[in-house]
Amino acid sequence: MTKIRVENVSKVFGKKVAQAQDLVKQGKSKSEILKMTGATVGVYDASFEVEEGEIFVIMGLSGSGKSTLVRLLNRLIEPTAGQIYINGDDVSKMNKQQLREVRRTSVNMVFQNFGLFPHQTILKNTEYGLKVRGVPKEERKIKAEKALENAGLLDFKDQYPKQLSGGMQQRVGLARALANDSEIVLMDEAFSALDPLIRKEMQDELIELQQNMKKTIIFITHDLNEALRIGDRIAIMKDGKIIQIGTGEDILTHPADDYVRSFIEDIDRSKVLTAENIMVRPVTVNPEHDGPKVALQRMKEEQVSLVLAMSKTRELLGYITADDALRCAKEGQQKLLPCVQKEMNTVPHDLLLEEVLPIISDSPTPVAVMKDGKLAGVLIRGIVIEALAKETSEVASNE
Amino acid sequence: GSSDKSAEKDKKIELAYVEWDTEVASTNVIAQVLKDEGFKVKTTSLDNAVMWEAVANDKADAMVAGWLPNTHGTQLAKYKDKVVDLGENLKGAKIGLAVPEYMDVNSIEDLKDQAKKEITGIEPGAGIMSATEKALKDYPNLKDWKLKTASSGAMTVALGQAIKKKEDIVITGWSPHWMFQKYDLKYLEDPKGDFGGDEMIHTFASKELKKKSPEAYKILDKFNWTKEDMEKVMLDVNNGASPEDAAKTWIKDNKDKVAEWTK
């Protein structure tokens, strides 16, 4: 089900809005437009859809319009042009009452600058959304305390925001939005002030939320590893425009342009690439049918020192090295079957490289990559290093 | 010599007054007379007490608005060492309790339970108020009457409202005052004499005036007119003339009297 649909939404800040929009159309850059009109292009012509239960990550340069885009979704900012549908209803046409209802039940937000109420305790801050919705006192206290507990802040519940550290404040903002249990959560750099440990916990919590509660989450982050870890899809923005939308792999393997390419340059590939991305096409023989000569011949043809043994039904039986094949031939075997080495490590095709590494490292032999119980490829040490070293993994992708 | 005299006349004379009809009339007349004599005259309207303070401190040179012995009795008591009493300039002023003509009382002793047993007064601390308080004690029939303090303005409004509705009202009155022209009022007889006999309006000068401008001092000392004179000016003003013009008109019509003062 489509939860959020954004159609050609633009937002220009400042006065000469129409002129600025024209200039964008003419391909002028944001800073040119600023100089010419004094208006700032926040978002230009953004369109995308987010499915129910999806974590949709938005990334992009500082000032590229991420926050603006997210604030347009719950209409904290009025769009200059375009439509925004939440659950099929056009947010930009809603009256106050309807908008309020959407904000109460459907969309909650974690603010980049936290937006905590300085005059209320942490607990009261966390209760806020529930209070607005009219949840009874006792119940909202329980829910808010639960949310604070998840954020690791229950001890501080009677303190005021000023008494907390930056990261603690950010977690209060998080707890406040999550306590409310709305279908959609907009999270604007919600983890930016968190240390790696708590950040990882929070990421896990988010993924759990998404999986168990089918929450739809729009998540802004600057951390590509985080994006790849939690995001089902990633949108990359530049100067107000959405440059590319796709899964993490899409973006890593087919960056839309040099901007995206440079954006993903620094990524820790072992946390992104999967076995599938780095495996090589296996050279196979059917040991039930082929003899040692065939195997040696194939090795020569393909310039490899090892072939995989596969049944007619393309089931993996094991592997045969050049030595094995020679020995087999010496022994005068007609078929390879007896010479096949059956002990072979396998990994699922979608296993992350970071988890593949220890397996390869422990395995004296090549590792087979399996997909739907069938052989999909094979991992060779040299290739793994090559993949990790690649500027982008385009070449390494298995196509 | 004459040069001395003209130099004297250049001096500014500052007359203080209080913004009552009577005092507006008299002050304007005497101011006009002094002007005609060549003085630079400035008239400054002040609050009642401030007027006394100003003359006593030589911040103003004179005033022709001292109602005695009652109305300004306390002030005189306080400032008598700091001001010079130039004697009365008008006789036959009066204070007392007053009621509308339609009320069926003629003496204070006739008051029983009219007007909710309230006398509508003016500013607390005014002489007439002390007199009324004395009367409340002296007359047994006023034993449980009350004196409501307010201000002259408020009192006249209350009076107007009462007359409009033909209600009973007892006020602390004094004359000359425009209310006696505007409404049919009568004083209640005062057998115990708590409100004294007639009030007289005195002229007071600062201690310095005689030295500073004996000429003006002399004129002020001689200033003296009647209730009828004053009422003429007041009527003119009430009919829309500016006080200055009314004063001029009166002076034109009463050259002989003015001549007496400036002799």
Binding site: L76, G129, V132 | P124, G125, T149
Partner: protein, 283 residues
Amino acid sequence: MNNFLDDIPQIPLAQWTNDAMDYVTDHFQGFFDQIQETTESLMVSVTDGLLFIPAIVMIILIAVLAFFATKKKFGLAIFSVLGLLFIYNQGLWEDLMNTVTLVLFASIISVVIGVPVGILMSKSKTIESIMKPILDFMQTMPGFVYLIPAVAFFGIGLVPGVFASIIFSIPPTIRFTNLGIKQVPKELIEASESFGSTGSQKLFNVELPLAKSTIMAGINQTVMLALSMVVIASMIGADGLGKKVLTAVQRADVGPGFVAGLGLVIFAIIIDRLTQSFNNKKG
């Protein structure tokens, strides 16, 4: 040069005003009487109630209140005891109670009306641009001018005094409520709105609490101005310390006037500190 200006005949606004006032008094007298009577009797019974409590008991009560309101500090409590004893000693106790009634009525009514009006102003540009000149009017049209209609409408006594005090002293509450709400950081308003707050939820949960110190400063000014009006109120017959001041001043006798004024000041200081400590307490 100014000639052509002088040719315009004078607009008879003064006359119209008088006529309007007459019209209103003639036609709404019953209504005004009603208000006057109920308010007056209410105020009188409050004063009677205050006077029924013996001064010494009252002083102790106030001292205890002050002690606890200021988080168990002695400063205000001691000041209250000394100040009130002084007032008593000067024979002004009854006057003080009358003034308390007047000022409390004026202040409470001002706050009850003023805060909501200020809120409306902060929410609507139209209301703001209508209200601002009215507020200017209320504060600068001299009290003396509306004393007269006040007497015409309400007679002489406490009620017109309250009426005049409210007119003069309500603007600060309105203005600073407006200002305080406008100063609330936009991001907090946004945060509140993002949860779907209704206008009133936003108001009570975010705007008013955050504007509190500014609003309280406005209310403080309202109380001060109400106190400053007691002398003028006494000109239309409101009893109390103001009357004592007026008496003394009429006699050019600064001393007693100063003493009565000091009574007002002591009352003002106690009220000021008390409201301030309540303000901080809930902060």
